[in-house]
Amino acid sequence: MDGPLDFEDEDALFSPPVVPKKRKKIIGLDDLLTDFYREKSKCLERESKREKAPQKDNSDDDEDDKEALVCKAVDECQKQMTELIGEEEISMWGIRLFGDQKTPPPLIFPELRSSLLLQSFMENELSTLVELPIETGEVFLESLLLNGWLSKLIISCGHLEKSIASWTFNMILYSSREELRASACDLWHLVLSSKAEVASVPIKIDWFPGYSELRRALETYGFLFSFSSTTESVDTNSACQKPSQNIKAWVEISAACCQARSKKPIFSTSEAEELVQFIICLFLDRQLMGLQLLFYECTQSVINYFTDEEWTISSKRIAKSLAFRVPMDLNCLRAVECISGVGPRSKGLRSAVAYEVLCNCLNCKAANEEEILSLLISINVKDRSCDLFKMYIYLVLTENWLMSTTLLEEKPVLYEMWSVYLRNCSCQITSTDMRSYAPKVRNKASYLLQGTIK
């Protein structure tokens, strides 16, 4: 199926430890081989027929009929094969995360007119120069916000009053105007990140956003809090719901809230745990791929929100609930792989999530590391009924679980088992294996095997 025969060298290299196993199953292997070759020759036949097809146009009809028959037969074989394998050749990660949007709450804030900011200006003698009618106070505040004055004003005066705080926060969550959302986000970011201890005037913030508001906004956007099977996964042609435009601002404000822990812990531990999960889920929607850099930054902010003590417990809890949330297909790999970052926390979380998902996949409870690996080793990849797609997922999960930890160095047993597992996957699947994920599993395993040689 694929060209490179480099792997034959590896096969030769690693044959010794595999020999005893080969001996035991020598008949099975032969059977399989003949099966494969039979299938392969069929395929070759079909291919050569197809290649000839265009030239056939002006030759005998007889031949055409024959060919049609053979083609039909071969196609049927092919169909049976794919049925046997039970896999679609092309599968992609992707989940539809957003359903129907709800009507956002109205963005009317009559209390703005009585805000201190506007009121105090009305008493100012300058108001004659500026000629600001109080009726248009809201419009004026909006342009103050848009043009970047409001944030500077708040920082210079050292006070963010309640009406303005909740007004700008609601702009972020529900405004349909991108510039307003962006300006409001900037304002909150500046206000929350300004360091009180250096400022000559520490900013007094009368109102803080809360997790419930953020969660309610997600509901309004139509976020599907529980997405189950893969049935709803990427269906690019259906008239799918577009994710809300506000999701970007939502992510940004969540990150800003996390960065302000020194000012005020806005989220409880369990709320922050849920937030991490939601953001990792956002990675799974293909439509939001263009925003993933924001998601990474936000993941980092939320992960760093926890204190060290909280994190040891919370990271495990996050990993466990994520493992239940993500479907056990390519999506779970995507979920693991999108947790990245240099810090020990993201490395640890990545490993933990991979481990928990693996446990879930293998359906084993209270398993320890050795048990999991021995379970993986016991899978016979040569068996036709062995689901290589699942094997691929196990392999990538195990890789992510083990590689960013010190486990392999600490426990030589694990290291040995990991090598055996890799050898199983790389040596027992031949390059002529026609199952759809065979080359993927084989290549991945032999790549990793190369890496383990020291």
């Binding site: 694929d2 004055w149 500077k152």
Partner: protein, 465 residues
């Protein structure tokens, strides 16, 4: 302990092994080939960033990641390679400041063998050959950079900017990465330069080599950069009209990605212009100290180019006021540009030499406000610049000043006018300046943006409740 030879052998093995993942992908556009590219990026990330003991990617490996960004056939591979390149840049900076010197002064550490997306090797003006229409693959040189910028001008000019295109995204992300790399090289060099006054450090910076290259026409390059900022800003303003045709998920994905990339490209352009102005300032300092040689050449400072554009092109001026000052939020240089513009009209008639126009020590924002408060000098200014323009310039300058004083709270700022003059004085003078403008022309309308500035100043002055 592994010997050096052994380590090199392991690295070579790792390189071959990792690159083998890409072998079958070779420029194909199938799902499989795409999967292979993603698998490759993940493998590099795992080995070089996430692994228990990570090691930097070899040059070939980094080059392959760069290639994926430049020719990527799917949004996913482009986004992922872009992210990985930036992560690698952060993890393994090619230049950084170290305080390991015994004297305690910072020294610059340049990792010579580090991979770089640039290749300024031979700097001969390309003769005879037609300039390439596409940036040639491989390392980016000065002409390649200009081609990239011209490509971005196209993207910015795109009337229907929702013409969704992977090529546009590739260009924009490539540009952003290039700016990151230039900045990553320049900032530590400039930081040590300020301490040691060793011009060589900056002479060898990628940015200086790029701008000094004879393969490009520097002024055109800068004008292109300015027009990109304008173009993006204008179209970003009328975006958000939901595109009902983009029905399929892939189109939505692309539309969201384009929008996001345009925003970040605008920010990256601002970063680029800012470091160019910083370089100009350092170069000017080096020139005054006689540290530069003829080989350094003469390059018009970017601020001068901007001011020239403003002076000779009234359209540009209004565009600049509406767009650039809105976009260009970096307060230090925003203030600088406005003050220089004023000084052109307010400075005493003196001999203008190249050397002297670098220093603006005598022009401060407060100084400008004082001139406007004085009826004779403000009448003079109004004659040369219209009241509308004066209002806008003053308001923008005030905003920049405010931003700087907000930053000051965070202790980022270095000493200058912002610290010297109390904010309340600036606010008072701003109000008086507007009053004096009003006195001269009773019918003068105060522009909305200026009203906002006045409101802000008045509120800062008003006694705290």
């Amino acid at each position: 302990m592994a010997t050096l030879g052994q380590r090199r052998a392991t690295i070579v093995a790792m390189e071959e092994n990792t690159l083998a993942i890409l072998d079958s992908a070779e420029a194909k556009d199938t799902q499989d080939a795409n999967d292979d590219r993603i698998a490759y990026l993940n493998a590099v990330r795992l080995a070089s960033i996430l692994a228990d003991s990570p090691s930097p990617p070899t040059n070939k490996m980094a080059e392959a990641v760069f290639q994926i960004l430049r020719v990527g056939k799917s949004l996913e591979s482009i986004m992922e390679s872009f992210r990985l390149l930036n992560e690698l840049e952060n993890c393994y900076p090619p230049a950084y400041v170290s305080n390991m010197d015994t004297s305690g002064s910072p020294i610059l550490v340049v990792v010579e063998e580090a991979w770089s997306p640039f290749g300024f090797g031979s700097d001969v003006a390309r003769s005879g050959k037609e300039p390439a229409a596409e940036i040639p693959l491989g390392p980016i040189d000065a002409s390649g950079f200009h081609l990239l910028i011209q490509g971005l001008v196209e993207v910015a000019d795109e009337a229907n900017f929702q013409a969704l295109d992977l090529k546009a995204i590739r260009r924009m992300l490539l540009f952003q990465y290039i700016v990151n790399a230039l900045k990553g090289d320049f900032v530590p060099r400039n930081c040590v330069y300020k301490d040691t006054m060793n011009w060589n450090l900056l002479r060898e910076s990628l940015l200086n080599m790029l701008l000094g290259s004879r393969r490009i026409i520097y002024k055109n390059l800068m004008k292109d950069c300015l027009s990109i900022m304008c173009g993006f800003q204008i179209s970003n303003n009328f975006e958000c009209s939901e595109n009902p045709e983009a029905a399929s998920g892939d189109d939505t994905a692309l539309a969201i990605a384009v929008l996001e990339a345009r925003k970040s490209t605008c920010i990256a352009m601002q970063k680029l212009l800012t470091i160019i102005m910083e370089l100009d300032m350092s170069k000017n300092k080096a020139e005054m100290q006689g540290c530069t040689t003829r080989a350094d050449g003469v390059r018009t400072p970017l601020v001068e180019i901007i001011l020239d554009e403003l002076t000779y092109d009234q359209d540009m001026l209004s565009q600049f006021l509406q767009n650039h000052l809105q976009v260009f939020t970096e307060p230090k240089w925003k203030l600088e540009i406005i003050l220089r513009y004023f000084s052109k009209y307010t400075a005493k008639p003196s001999v203008h030499t190249r050397r002297s126009n670098g220093c603006t020590d005598d022009v401060t924002f407060n100084g400008v406000l004082r001139r406007l408060m004085d009826s004779t000098s403000s009448r003079n200014i109004i004659k040369k610049i219209s009241t509308e323009v004066v209002q806008l310039l003053v308001a923008h300058a005030f905003q920049a000043h405010l931003s700087r004083s907000c930053q000051n709270f965070d202790g980022i700022n270095d000493s200058d006018e912002v610290k010297a003059t109390p904010l309340t004085e600036i606010c008072k003078n701003l109000v008086s300046a507007f009053r004096s403008l009003r006195r001269m022309d009773e019918k003068m309308d105060i522009l909305p943006f200026a009203k906002e500035a006045l409101f802000t100043a008045a509120t800062i002055l008003s006694p705290k409740s």
